[in-house]
Symmetry: C2
Subunit: 431 residues, 2 copies
């Protein structure tokens, strides 16, 4: 009989310290869940962490800055890695698994890059790797994909999975603000990091959609295989035109299975205002899974923050504890190799194109001719009053479905027309 489950925690930042607090304050309740006490045994920190006020609460003797000391602590059954980033997190997780410990992490980068290797390694060592907190914060999505939706052939996953960008886009849309000042305000309010590149450029979302695609299709999708565009090219008039056309603009992370070719991309999209994800505003996250049996299932909630994230982490810790008690690793299937990625050139979608052109007769005809030559047909056009100084007009075109390859060639040619000043933006449309 297992008498106690020991947890070792690596990292004492916002997430790590919240998990430590929860394991300590709710110990009785979590014991009810497993029948055995779950005890925080050791915390691996860096020196700076020792200044945090919580250190006193947890008990100073639990802390160590020494890796070997941490791993030599007796009675650690479960290691929770909460430092983030690729290294040394990846090495710590390997070390934990190699010694047969249960591994739990909230680290999307390590899982997106090395999840397959760590899972295989865990299976070899008769233990498990869990990472519910790596995507969607408090929203259950990893376990639902691993267990609850496995009877489905997943057709696609569509998500708003980065709270920072969704907060910025929501304010740009509702308050008619420009990108730079919205970002600045988000940083001041703590919704965006001082260095926001991971969020703004879709890197964070790309890690997450790579993880979800890999689980959904049971073939590895690497984060560098995710086509990625950030939100910094969006202008306030894009939101106005989108609204006029019945759409809203969101940074969507999506993956689709097109007869075995996996499309995986993160970029701004126009969503129809009645789309299930169109009303997901502010820092909320939402994940829509489209299965052949379930149809569309949507999960919505807080995708970040210490409390929601600790919900996912502690659920994993409790599941790991049950596994230690039963002595049986999860019988989950391994992946069946690498996914075949559909080249971005082959993606078929509708487009929104905004351009400035000379305000003179025949301009639209020339643009339409170029589009037509590339098999792109126009669904609707908005032409806005010209700028009288520069003698240019702003033209917004919505196309029917077209190939990305054709669209890129058409835009190049439109840019070379004498009458066009520039194609200022083009945004894909999801229906």
């Amino acid at each position: 009989m297992t008498k106690e489950i020991g947890v070792g925690l690596i990292g004492f930042g916002v997430i790590g310290s919240q998990v430590a607090r929860l394991l300590t304050s709710e110990k009785d309740r979590f014991q009810d869940q497993t029948g055995v006490p779950i005890t925080l045994k050791r915390v691996k920190v860096v020196k700076a962490d020792l200044e945090r006020p919580l250190v006193g609460i947890i008990g100073p003797s639990l802390f160590t800055t020494d890796e070997d000391d941490f791993f030599a602590t007796p009675g650690i059954d479960i290691v929770f890695e909460a430092i983030g980033g690729e290294e040394p997190a990846f090495s710590y997780l390997k070390r934990a698994i190699a010694s047969g410990k249960q591994a739990v992490t909230s680290n999307k980068e390590v899982i997106a890059k090395h999840g397959m290797e760590l899972t295989v390694m865990a299976k070899e060592h008769n233990t498990s790797l869990r990472y519910e907190a790596s995507v969607g914060g408090g929203i259950p999505i990893i376990t639902p994909l691993k267990r609850d939706l496995v009877a489905n052939k997943i057709r696609g996953i569509y998500c708003i999975i980065n709270g920072t960008t969704n907060y910025i886009l929501t304010r740009m849309s509702k308050e008619d603000m420009d990108f730079a000042s919205t970002l600045k305000s988000a940083q001041e309010l703590g919704y965006a990091e001082p260095n926001p590149v991971n969020d703004i450029e879709g890197i964070d979302a790309a890690f997450k959609i790579a993880i979800l695609a890999t689980l959904a299709f049971r073939k590895r999708v690497r984060p560098e295989e995710v086509y990625r565009e950030g939100i910094s090219r969006l202008r306030s008039q894009d939101f106005r035109y989108a609204r006029e056309l019945g759409f809203t603009i969101k940074l969507l992370a999506m993956t689709k299975d097109d007869n075995g070719a996996i499309e995986t991309r993160v970029h701004p999209v126009l969503l129809p205002q009645e789309h299930p994800l169109a009303k997901v505003d502010g820092v909320l996250n939402a994940i829509m899974v489209d299965g052949d049996l379930t149809g569309q299932v949507v999960f919505v909630g807080q995708g970040a923050g210490p409390l929601p994230t600790s919900s996912a982490v502690v659920a994993d810790v409790i599941a790991a504890a049950r596994e230690v008690i039963s002595g049986q690793a999860e019988q989950l299937p391994l992946l069946s190799g690498d996914a075949t990625i559909k080249p971005m050139d082959d993606v078929l979608t509708r487009y929104y194109i905004r351009m400035s052109a000379a305000d003179q007769p025949g301009v639209l005809a020339q643009i339409a001719r170029v589009l037509g030559m590339h098999q792109i047909s126009i669904a609707s056009v908005i032409q806005k009053e010209s700028d009288s100084k520069s003698q240019t007009a702003e033209i917004v075109i919505m196309t029917h479905q077209a190939l990305e390859r054709n669209m890129r060639m058409a835009i190049e040619e439109i840019n070379e027309l004498e009458i066009t000043q520039e194609v200022s933006n083009f945004i894909r449309v999801e229906a």
Copy 2:
């Protein structure tokens, strides 16, 4: 080593036959999930089922109408009960569990009434009972409550959990139709049963919220302890007034933990138009779980139909198969006894009251006086043009929060006033 997992199916209606079809047609894919083939071994039917076209597809030798014959079939590891209703389903599940088999059911009535007894019995026989399909069709909600959200103290669950009534209310709201003709149309389209009482009166929703409350609070909530009102008292003007006031009307199933007193109720409510559940229309289901760590998490999808339901059933069958292979029952905690139910009289909420009264001066003052005597304060009033023939006016009052006990006494007294014709409806408000 387990060489094969055998499934016995009881019932060959819409759900049973779809699960049989899926286990047969997707056998290879489900084998990938467990490493072992999952084989349909026997199907217990009633004579009428033998007329169904699918019987030929599955192979006639698999069918039996004899219970003993079914349970004596060698190699059945998992029994899926798909007949619905309390008996004989309950007896079949007991018999399956008593013989150490894994039990899977989509039967909300049996689980709401006997889930605790069956779970205890399963633990005694070192096996498990699974019932993901009993609530929310293809939406994962049972497993998320059992595993993914266990770190939370659940504060409440709010759901639209009956597709038939949501379809009817959506049409009444959007098409300004009355209840009787909407029900008739829903029946003609197959969205409502010929005998719709279980849906219309909230009985189905009460079974489901009893199941969710029991899981969320880990104390038994019996279906007869759920306060229940159906939708048949709603009139088209209620929808019009609600819209005017910024609300929509939904049949909500909800449960809340008020310091250990569990509120569990199913009845129509006014929801603010910006509420996360207000836009869940048609046959869709949605379940909002409010946890102390996650905050509000919302799950939306198709709550009924053979395909979504079979997704949940087969996920349970695969989980049961993994358990057979590992030889270890799930280490889930048992319930800790019966819930303390908060009496409906003690419920505190806002109210919408619609009444007809004499069209004469001083009427509102008299009504307000009665409400005030019962500590009910008025938030807003709509008085509609009088019916010139009967000399009556329609008055709609929105109150601030009040106790149900006080509201019922006030309505009795208002009904006795000479100037009031009747209180036509009162509907609780959720914010």
